[in-house]
């Protein structure tokens, strides 16, 4: 089972090892208690045996063993232990006590069963003066283990209670420490989740530890990026609305003029102009849409394999009537397929914008050439025109949205090159502006060539 709570995880990591250690500790303390109880019992047995042995004496030539009561009573510790003993001569004759009581090996105690009791036994050998062959006598004392076990339990239970208290207190402190340590994290959560936060302001959490600080910083950096993106979006929308206002005013003016004009040819002229204006407005709206689609994140990245040559041919065919109408020599210069990988729709739109720009700024009777080539595993698309060109110091600005060259008379939207750059960079390429061969502008787009399929 996976534990997802940080509290439980940390608690487990602290308490479980502690419990393990405590278990080992309890085991050793049990052994210690057992050893202590053994030692104490053995001492008592020895004391008892000695007391019995010392009362064995020869009286009137007969070996006599009288059991002193103290030797038995010393085992009366309140645990109802039974005490067994016997005194034997060296020859093995029983002087007094229980027959069949097992004997312990010399100078060490042993445990044995006797009359359904487990006994601890000790055998003591004692020389009795004047006993002749009967000396030395052996005294064996055995005691049942109730008192012994009670002592072990008492000794061990104290240790057990201590360990338990230790683990419990450690666990409690871990929880307390976690609660205090996690508090900044909880505050961070509350700060981020707070319904009053809609403005993506940086979050500030007082008392955040060094470990949490990077998380807050990362969060703030992320929000700053989102804020910047939103600001760019807002600027774009404001700009777009702004750019649509003048053409709309134009449409409305032309319509009003046509409505009021009574002379039919002038009315006709206004209607034709109105139609052209609405076409331009549609084109502007289309460009705005293309640009918003070209923005990173607004459209699923596509990796179509498209032939730039064929795409350019389609675009030129579509633009040819407009070029012919203005007497512009629109030509395609190609040597074969130029495959690239990218968003096909956007790449075609990019070419449309390049050609549209070139035609727009080329005077009637001029030349516009679209050239396709491959160079160093790059696809190179160049569009040359006969127009006024763009001064070098303006070449960076013209890629900005809505930027128009100062004094530009033609009715461009200022979006064409912005679209081109956005699309080309999304496809991993680059676009540069240079002087045309004779005059005018040369736009060069370089894209990575698609690998042979």
């Amino acid at each position: 089972m996976r534990i997802n709570s940080l509290r439980l995880q940390l608690l487990a990591w602290v308490v479980l090892p502690l419990v393990g250690l405590a278990t080992i500790n309890l085991w050793t303390s049990h052994r210690n208690a057992l050893a202590t109880a053994d030692l104490v019992t053995d001492r008592m047995l020895m004391g008892s045996a000695r007391a019995i042995a010392e009362r064995v004496a020869v009286a009137d030539g007969v070996l006599d063993a009288t059991i002193p009561p103290a030797a038995i009573e010393m085992f009366d510790t309140g645990d109802q232990d039974s005490v067994y003993y016997h005194v034997k001569t060296a020859g093995g004759r029983l002087l007094t006590g229980y027959p069949n009581l097992p004997e312990a090996p010399k100078s060490s105690s042993t445990e044995a069963s006797y009359r359904d009791h487990r006994l601890r036994l000790l055998t003591f050998s004692h020389t009795v003066v004047g006993a002749g062959n009967d000396s030395p006598i052996t005294v064996t004392v055995g005691v049942s283990l109730a008192g012994h076990d009670a002592m072990v339990r008492r000794l061990w239970f104290g240790a057990f209670a201590q360990q338990l208290a230790l683990v419990a207190i450690a666990g409690l402190f871990v929880l307390l420490g976690l609660h205090r340590g996690l508090a900044p994290l909880i505050r961070l959560r509350d700060a981020v989740r707070s319904p009053s936060r809609s403005d993506l302001d940086p979050v500030e959490v007082a008392g955040a530890q060094n470990e949490i600080r990077p998380l807050i910083d990362a969060l703030n950096a992320y929000m700053a990026r989102v804020r910047a993106q939103m600001a760019a979006q807002r600027r774009f929308i404001a700009n777009a609305a702004h750019q649509l206002r003048t053409p709309l005013a134009l449409l409305s003016t032309q319509a009003s003029y046509a409505l009021r004009e009574t002379a039919s040819d002038q009315r006709q002229e206004a209607l034709v102009a109105l139609q052209a204006s609405s076409g331009k407005l549609a084109r502007l709206a289309e460009q705005l849409l293309t640009l918003s689609r070209a923005e990173p994140g607004s459209r699923r990245p596509r990796a179509d394999r498209i032939d730039l040559t064929e795409a350019a041919r389609h675009v030129l065919e579509a633009q040819a009537p407009a070029a012919i109408k203005r007497g512009i020599d629109l030509g395609l210069d190609e040597t074969g397929p130029v495959p690239v990988i990218g968003d096909g729709t956007m790449l075609r739109e990019m070419i449309v914008n390049l050609v549209d720009n070139a035609l727009r700024y080329t005077p009637a009777g001029g030349t516009v050439t679209v050239k396709l080539a491959t160079l160093d595993s790059q696809a190179v698309l160049t569009v040359c025109d006969d127009g006024p060109g763009i001064p070098p110091e303006e070449r960076e600005h013209v890629f900005e949205r809505f930027y128009r060259l100062p004094g530009a008379a033609e009715d461009g939207s200022g979006l064409g090159l912005a679209i081109v750059r956005e699309v080309v960079e999304n496809a991993g390429g680059s676009v540069t502006l240079a002087d045309g061969a004779a005059r005018g502008l040369m736009v060069e787009v370089r894209l990575p060539l698609a690998a042979d399929s």
């Binding site: 003048t246 134009l250 409305s252 003016t253 009003s256 003029y257």
Partner: protein, 225 residues
């Protein structure tokens, strides 16, 4: 009435001026803020329609300079920026009215009329002199019960005289008010227009009097003692 339209979008400027000319205004167009001063120096404009987004000098700057020179000509500001801030700023800088693009031409015309009326201290939309009546809303003249049919030039001259009825209007003033930049101003042609107007006004109680060396004056019989 001669208006100055300052708008950098050439198409919009073109069609706006055409539409205003339909309504018998004399319209000059400049596309650059820098040209406004020259334009104002070269003619007598009753009103300026000023776009704020201009190349060269911004519309706001044009307005500021205009007012700094003490020029009281009414200014209607046109802008694609419809924010409250922008409107307030424009009005604070001395604009008389503010119109956000896109606008309906009817609204622009209505606001032009309001400004012209205010500039001439009038409150009624109708200017009358004897039985000659000019309705500033329809921009049509009527003489008695009949509409008066005029060419654009005659219209401009008569409107100028009517607005200043009872006061002398010099030939130069007339010329500055009725010719736009595209026309070679020809002061002698004024006499022709006045002559034609007198013919059209024959039989009415309104007369255009010539004050030699001074100019013309529109008056009606009721005023003569």
């Amino acid at each position: 009435m001669r208006l100055l339209l300052v708008e950098d979008n050439r198409e919009l400027a073109d069609w706006l001026s055409k539409t205003l000319r339909q309504a018998s205004y004399v319209v000059d167009v400049v596309h650059d803020g820098e040209d406004v001063e020259h334009a104002l120096a070269a003619g007598e404009h009753a009103l300026i329609i000023l776009d704020l987004a201009l190349p060269g000098m911004s519309g706001m700057e044009v307005l500021k300079r205009l007012r700094a020179r003490g020029n009281p000509v009414p200014v209607i500001v046109l802008t694609a920026n419809a924010s409250l801030d922008g409107r307030v700023k424009g009005l604070n800088e001395g604009a008389d009215d503010y119109l956000a693009k896109p606008f309906q031409i009817e609204e622009l015309e209505a606001r032009i009329r309001v400004q012209l009326r205010r500039a001439n201290d009038r409150t009624a939309p109708v200017i009358a002199c004897g039985d000659l009546v000019f309705d500033t809303n329809t921009r049509l003249f009527t003489l008695g019960p009949e509409p008066l049919s005029l060419t654009p030039r005659e219209h401009a001259v008569l409107e100028q005289l009517l607005v200043k009825a009872g006061r002398t209007v010099s030939k130069a003033q007339l010329s500055a008010a009725i010719y736009d930049f595209d026309t070679d101003a020809d002061p002698s042609a004024i006499e022709i227009y006045v002559h034609r107007l007198r013919k059209k006004l024959e039989g009415s109680r309104v007369q255009i009097a010539t004050l030699r060396g001074l100019g013309y004056l529109l008056r009606h019989d009721d005023l003569t003692p």
